[in-house]
């Protein structure tokens, strides 16, 4: 019961946050010199006042700001995110079309980031101050320092252009037909429909962008795991386990790591939201048709309904993942459950 009220309260608290986001986006749309009219109409159409007026009327740009805002929020409460100026389709439909590609990419990245990050972090903590520790620390700092768009190019050059190990940009090779849409994740859909060729191809396309996008997370998780492990390894129960004569592997994995993972889970939670938003650069290089690309096109054409839709969606996912993490605490840490 307590957990449920907690979850509900947290969800209710996100409402003012989301309203705040709409306010900021609206304020920017109003305060800046950029005009969606110039961004979306051609030179010729611009010179015709009738077309300009019709465009303004169509998108409600002729109404005063507060009125536009009230209309937007009223529609939002009915689950309507408005229509994108650029694609002319409902923003919700656009998001539904673009989101799965990004979720698939971000999930693959976080899996890569967690596995490699935890592995490096544990190795580095167990062999503290050894050369291995120094190497891991060095590489985790590299992970958070390298510009993703450059790493993407370097990896594409080596593993795609030269070695031909990985596939190039896009989600599938040009000749292949996407699998029947069940979840929108190409790898999963191909697997569920038993389309082996597409599955392998989709996976080959996913590897490089996932590594690129996950490089920052790997570095971050390696560092958090290391410091968390160091703390746990100094605890009494670890010394007890060692004194009992348990094998080092058992002590490290069963006694220390399980307790050290709690702060790591927090990082995973907030990284995931960051990956969704941070996918902009990765997606633009790998021609990955996700919401990052959608957001970029929306910003350059000052398509505010679309910008607002993406921002609300990402902020919402961010809040929900953090909530899941907080609930996970109860599952992972029995001490919290009894408290």
């Amino acid at each position: 019961m307590n957990t449920l009220t907690y979850i509900l309260r947290r969800l209710v608290l996100t409402v003012p946050l989301l309203i705040g986001i709409t306010l900021i986006a609206f304020a920017i749309a109003r305060a800046v010199p950029g005009d969606p009219v110039t961004a979306n109409l051609g030179q010729k159409a611009m010179s015709d006042p009738k077309i300009v007026a019709a465009f303004r009327a169509e998108w409600g740009l002729d109404k005063p700001a507060y009125e536009q805002y009230v209309i937007y929020v009223t529609k939002l409460l009915q689950g309507d995110l408005g229509r994108s100026i650029k694609s002319r389709r409902p923003v919700l439909d656009d998001l539904r079309a673009y989101l799965p590609a990004t979720i698939e990419l971000a999930t693959a990245s976080i899996v890569f980031g967690v596995i490699s990050g935890v592995l490096f972090g544990v190795l580095s903590a167990v062999r503290r101050n050894s050369w291995l520790d120094q190497v891991v620390r060095f590489f985790s700092l590299i992970g958070v320092s390298v510009p993703v768009f450059w790493l993407a190019l370097v990896l594409l050059f080596i593993f795609y252009a030269r070695l031909r190990w990985a596939a190039g940009p896009g989600r599938l090779d040009a000749g292949l037909k996407p699998p029947t849409r069940l979840t929108g994740f190409f790898t999963l859909d191909a697997l569920m429909t038993g389309n082996w060729t597409v599955f392998v191809n989709a996976l080959r396309h996913l590897v490089l962008p996932a590594i690129v996008l996950g490089s920052y997370t790997t570095g971050l998780i390696a560092r958090v795991t290391r410091s968390s492990m160091l703390e746990v390894l100094g605890q009494g129960y670890v010394r007890t386990a060692q004194a009992k004569g348990l094998r080092e592997r058992t002590v490290v994995l069963r006694h220390a790591l399980r307790n050290a993972l709690i702060p790591v889970v927090t990082v995973i939670g907030f990284s995931y939201g960051g990956l969704l938003a941070g996918a902009v650069l990765t997606e633009s290089i790998f021609a990955w048709p996700g919401i990052g690309q959608y957001a970029f096109r929306a910003s350059t054409s000052l398509d505010f309904p679309a910008i607002m839709g993406v921002s609300l969606l990402i902020a919402f996912i961010f809040v929900v993942t953090n909530l899941i993490v907080d609930v996970l605490y109860f599952v992972l840490d029995p001490r919290l459950r009894s408290a």
Partner: protein, 295 residues
């Protein structure tokens, strides 16, 4: 009175601190490497006109897309411009841009955080809720929206970043002010009848600045990185400008001429790494929990 005592202590402690810093660097090779790299990049940026073999805008069409050679160490780009010269000049943009973002965002965030934490009550509540909204807004998307709305340019890219950058400083400084506020010397100042505003700016804030500056140092690399990213997306300075992110974007179209994007990428990478090496070492040194564990 308090300030006189602090100045005196600082002065007495100075030689000791230099020795301390030196010992710290010797014990932390990572910090030393970072510091050396930072100094090298600052010098390179300052003296770029003397170091660069050609002008960064100088075009020689016959020499276009040439691989690295004795005449052009880093090769040439699609307009026959020397990549080395452009990389050297790039620091003159990226470093000041990163610094400007951190300083401006730091100043705004510090002011808001300080007032919020010092005033407390409803003012604190409102300011922190606003800060939270800015933090919940996906950073790069907000920056992209602002930069494209203002029109792509160097100044606008910096402005866009400042808008998304200040909230974390507001949070940090607010936390610092809350803890400093509880000190006896603040009570003493109040008992002496010092006006509240003066207590905040003269007594509380100076005691929060050192940690805030550390946060800013750690942040510099990140600012350089995000600036390059915006510029890469075409939301930074105009295309002809020798800017690293922009150069990498140009290089995409000339995939086989790897030198066009490899060298500006290495430049961003080494600058950001340098700041992270220094920042990370400072953070390690200042985190007492970690320090106790390691020793």
């Amino acid at each position: 009175m308090a300030s006189v005592a602090t100045t005196f202590e600082l002065r007495a402690a100075r030689p000791n601190r230099v020795a301390q810093a030196w010992r710290f660097l010797r014990a932390n090779p990572v910090a030393l490497v970072g510091l050396v790299l930072v100094v090298v990049w600052v010098l390179v940026s300052l003296f770029a006109p003397l170091l660069a073999p050609y002008g960064p805008l100088e075009q020689k069409v016959v020499q276009r897309l040439k691989p690295p050679s004795a005449a052009h160490w880093f090769g040439t780009d699609q307009l026959g411009r020397d990549v080395l010269a452009r990389v050297l000049y790039g620091g003159r943009l990226s470093l000041p841009a990163g610094l400007a973002v951190v300083v401006l965002a730091g100043a705004i965030g510090t002011t808001i955080g300080a007032i919020s934490g010092f005033a407390g009550g409803w003012l604190d509540e409102i300011m922190m809720r606003i800060t939270e909204v800015f933090m919940a807004f996906p950073t790069i998307i907000l920056a992209m929206a602002i930069a494209s709305a203002l029109g792509p340019s160097l100044v606008n890219a910096i402005l866009a970043m400042v808008v998304v950058w200040w909230p974390s400083y507001a949070r940090v400084v607010r936390g610092l002010v809350l803890s400093v506020k509880a000190n006896d010397y603040v009570q003493a100042a109040r008992a002496l009848g010092v006006p509240e505003g003066r207590i905040l700016w003269r007594t509380v804030l100076p005691n929060c600045l050192a940690p805030a500056v550390v946060v800013a140092t750690i942040d510099l690399g990140n600012a350089v990185l995000v600036f390059a990213g915006l510029s890469f997306l075409g939301l930074g300075p105009d295309p002809a400008t020798p800017e690293w992110g922009r150069m990498i974007a140009d290089g995409i179209e000339f995939f086989d001429q790897w030198w066009m994007s490899a060298f500006p990428g290495l430049a961003i990478f080494t600058v950001v790494m340098a700041f992270n090496f220094v920042g990370d070492s400072i953070r390690d040194a200042l985190d007492p929990q970690l320090r106790n564990n390691v020793q």
